[in-house]
Amino acid sequence: MTKDFGADLVGPRSAFKFHRTQPTERISGSAGDVLEDDPVGRLKVFVYELPSKYNKKILQKDPRCLTHMFAAEIYMHRFLLSSPVRTLNPEEADWFYTPVYTTCDLTPNGLPLPFKSPRMMRSAIQLISSNWPYWNRTEGADHFFIEEKAIDRGILPLLQRATLVQTFGQRNHVCLKDGSVIIPPYAPPQKMQAHLIPPSTPRSIFVYFRGLFYDVGNDPEGGYYARGARASVWENFKDNPLFDISTEHPTTYYEDMQRAVFCLCPLGWAPWSPRLVEAVIFGCIPVIIADDIVLPFADAIPWEDIGVFVAEKDVPKLDTILTSIPINEILRKQRLLANPSMKQAMLFPQPAQSRDAFHQILNGLARKLPHDKNVYLNPGEKILNWTAGPVGDLKPW
């Protein structure tokens, strides 16, 4: 299915012309015309009605879940409930969604605890498999779950055949399931909108980064956190005037990103970070330092064209790498980043708007249709092992 690139983009930015006498050029929409697909009509999703102890009650206990990085699962549930792709007739559904908020178990600091989520998930699956026949029909191959926080020991065995929508993307890692839809972490759209500065503000910072370089609490000697990459950035470039990097938390963080040409997005304990989303929204070229990372919506967004990928071993040469990118490349990347559909695809706005991340998730799921015929099991056939996994997981929740 080919559409021509540079399809008409509505919006003021698409009509800019260069001042000089060069031929006019549009900000070409080659950032995936696939981003503009509308999932409505391409798939149908059935949402299981789970008792509120799996979703609403959890949220009531801790409303902070609505603003942290993994809030996408909650917003996705709300979106699906009122979306036109939802169907109330499970017979015609292509995908089944189980609304269980597994990452809504937060420490006092706001970091999610992964301990109870296997049990919660298992109990939810037991519920749906006993109350509806659709799980057993395919052993979950046409079900999808939003499994945000990676559990260290890997995917729950029960979810082996299901599709996961997750933020974690690292190739060949136990936490990444093949065929998952990778989504960006949740970043609050209103907050970012409130900090926009006029686009004519000149970009005067070359490289910008704010965050930890050493995780003194968990990794005092260094070398484990970020596989040493962040520490390497610090040690090599702390006195370089081109690199505006520090561990401070300035209130002008968003404004500063809009004044920077490059924004570093190195890995932390996990390869992904909200910095990628923020960089795309604010038009700062992301410099991704994470080996083997799988980026969100990788089949729809041409990340190679938009960002700069630097191998972890090349971090000491980061300044050479960045200054030797030809200027036309840089301008092209900035033009691609200015594409509004690109920014929209990274956001989870409330209420949902067209082409936003919710729709991209549905697009991703729609691209996996139709299901292969052999996912449908014969009656009585069992593939999943219900007793696999650590003993602690088998306790009822």
């Binding site: 070398g223 596989r227 040493g228 050479t320 960045l322 200027i327 840089i330 301008l331």
Partner: protein, 503 residues
């Protein structure tokens, strides 16, 4: 770090233990000491010594290798641990091997080295390249989001040669040099064009028109303002004759301009007004805040916000003008140039207005109807107080800078005393007559010399006169105050030789 010190303490303790034990040994007959305790003692000492010498990490590694029997620690861990203990400088690449769990992945679990290159400092060539990139990005931004068709800026500056001309004109010059648009600078000089001004302006590299204006700059501020108006009109005459196209703005040489001003005036269509901050500079205590106890009838502006400019209503239409109420200060203001009191602005300064240069052209078809003919205006040079005289109807003026809310330039008049002397072009040639050796300068920690001749002693009293003002403004240092006292003593006792060396 902590571990090392702890280790050292431990070592010391063990040393002391050994020392303590050796007298113990000495006291007890050596033969009776059991070999087991000796063995353990020696082993303990050896371990401590190894720890001390090799450092914490190595010693742990050695023990680990020696004593571990389990097979679970994977080879990768030990390898990467060894890797990190090697000096981490130099581009040592992390082990590129397959981890048991994953196949074909570049990513290895475990401890990685922190890669630091041998010279982790910026390379000047790369810094220059980066700046080139930033400039190019900014040019692109300007062409995309900035003003679409920037017009030439025509800056008109009246000036004349005096002490403060150089600092004032340098300030304006540097502001104009940073303007990203095409610029023509028209400098009108009272008393005729001089080489001094010409050489100053030439340093800017800007396109300029330097014209002289007959008539020396008068002594009184009133007259000076009038002459400046006439000079500006003369410059507008030049614009008309040469048919210069662009936006005319008035850059007085003692004013301060922000670069946003030049971006903002590009938006003007015919006549625009910006808000000007009025800096009423003064010497000693100038009480600018007055208490308006009795309000007589119409009291326009209660607040003494020192800004002149357009006033808008809530729908951003021009409804009037903010002016700085100078009446309370008139009796305290300066009357002649070089007066120590502050200088007050007139009702509306020229600097707050910008014009489309086509307004003063002759024979242009699309001149708006409300503009007066040039001949009308130019005839009566004396009466032109502000560019508003060029228009018949002041309501057509466009307020700029978000309707006057942004102050984009500041007005100030500061001049030196009329009899102040300054070297021509601020070049000292021939050298000054009075040369005072450096030791005379009251640096605080330089020990003062004894006055060796009467001449130098005479100079001292002059310094004491000046010093009260100087030391009043700076922090007192003990040596200087002592000096002052001793110098005063000198003054009292005329030529009596007292030792000044008090430090």
């Amino acid at each position: 770090m902590k571990q090392l010190t702890a280790l050292q303490q431990q070592g010391r303790r063990s040393n002391s233990f050994r020392n303590a034990s050796s007298p113990l040994d000495a006291t007890v007959d050596g033969a009776i000491k059991s070999p087991a305790t000796i063995f353990w003692l020696i082993l303990h000492g050896l371990c401590c010594l190894i720890s001390l010498v090799l450092g914490f990490r190595f010693s742990r590694l050695v023990f680990f290798l020696l004593f571990s029997t389990s097979s679970s620690p994977s080879a990768t861990n030990i390898y990467s641990a060894l890797q990190t203990t090697l000096p981490s400088s130099g581009a040592a690449s992390p082990p590129e091997r397959n981890v048991s769990a994953a196949g074909g992945s570049r990513v290895v679990v475990g401890r990685h080295g922190i890669l630091i290159r041998p010279w982790p400092h910026p390379d000047p060539a790369e810094v220059m390249k980066a700046h080139g990139i930033i400039e190019r990005v900014q040019t692109e931004q300007r062409s995309q989001y900035g003003v679409k068709n920037p017009r030439t800026v025509i800056a008109i500056t009246p000036t004349y040669v005096r002490t403060f001309q150089t600092p004032h004109l340098t300030g304006v010059m540097h502001s104009l040099m940073n303007v990203p648009y095409d610029l023509i600078w028209i400098v009108v000089e009272a008393g005729g064009a001089t080489n001094e001004t010409a050489s100053l302006i030439a340093k800017s590299g800007l396109k300029n028109i330097h014209i002289g204006f007959d008539g020396k700059m008068p002594f009184l501020w009133e007259d000076r303002h009038k002459l400046e108006s006439r000079m500006r009109l003369h410059a507008l005459r030049i614009v008309r004759e040469k048919r210069l196209d662009g936006i005319v703005m008035f850059a007085d040489d003692s004013n301060m301009h922000s670069l946003e001003l030049f971006d903002e005036i590009q938006n003007v269509k015919w006549v625009g007004a910006v808000s000007v901050g009025i800096l009423v500079g003064g010497s000693e205590e100038t009480e600018l805040t007055i208490v308006q106890t009795d309000d007589n009838g119409k009291d326009e502006k209660k607040s003494q916000v020192p800004v002149q400019g357009p006033a808008c209503n809530s729908s951003n239409h021009l409804v009037g003008w903010h002016t700085f109420n100078t009446l309370p200060f008139v009796d305290r203001s300066a009357r002649y140039i070089g007066d120590r009191a502050f200088v007050l602005p007139r009702k509306l300064e020229w600097a707050g207005f910008v014009l489309n240069s086509r307004l003063v052209w002759e024979d242009t078809e699309d001149k708006p109807v409300w503009v007066k003919e040039w001949e009308e205006v130019g005839r009566d040079d004396e009466g032109v107080e502000s560019p508003l005289s060029l228009v018949k109807d002041t309501s057509v003026v466009e307020p700029l800078g978000s309707c006057g809310r942004k102050v984009l330039l500041w007005w100030l008049r500061v001049e030196a005393r009329a009899d102040s002397k300054f070297p021509a072009r601020w070049i000292i040639d021939p050298p000054l007559e009075i040369t005072v050796p450096a030791k005379r300068t009251p640096w605080p920690d330089a020990p003062p010399e004894l006055p060796s001749s009467a001449e130098k002693v005479i100079i001292m009293p002059e310094n004491t006169e000046k010093r009260p003002t100087k030391s009043g403004s700076r922090k007192k240092r003990s040596s200087r105050s002592k000096r002052k006292r001793s110098a005063k003593v000198l003054d009292e006792h005329a030529l009596a030789r007292h030792s000044i060396g008090d430090n």
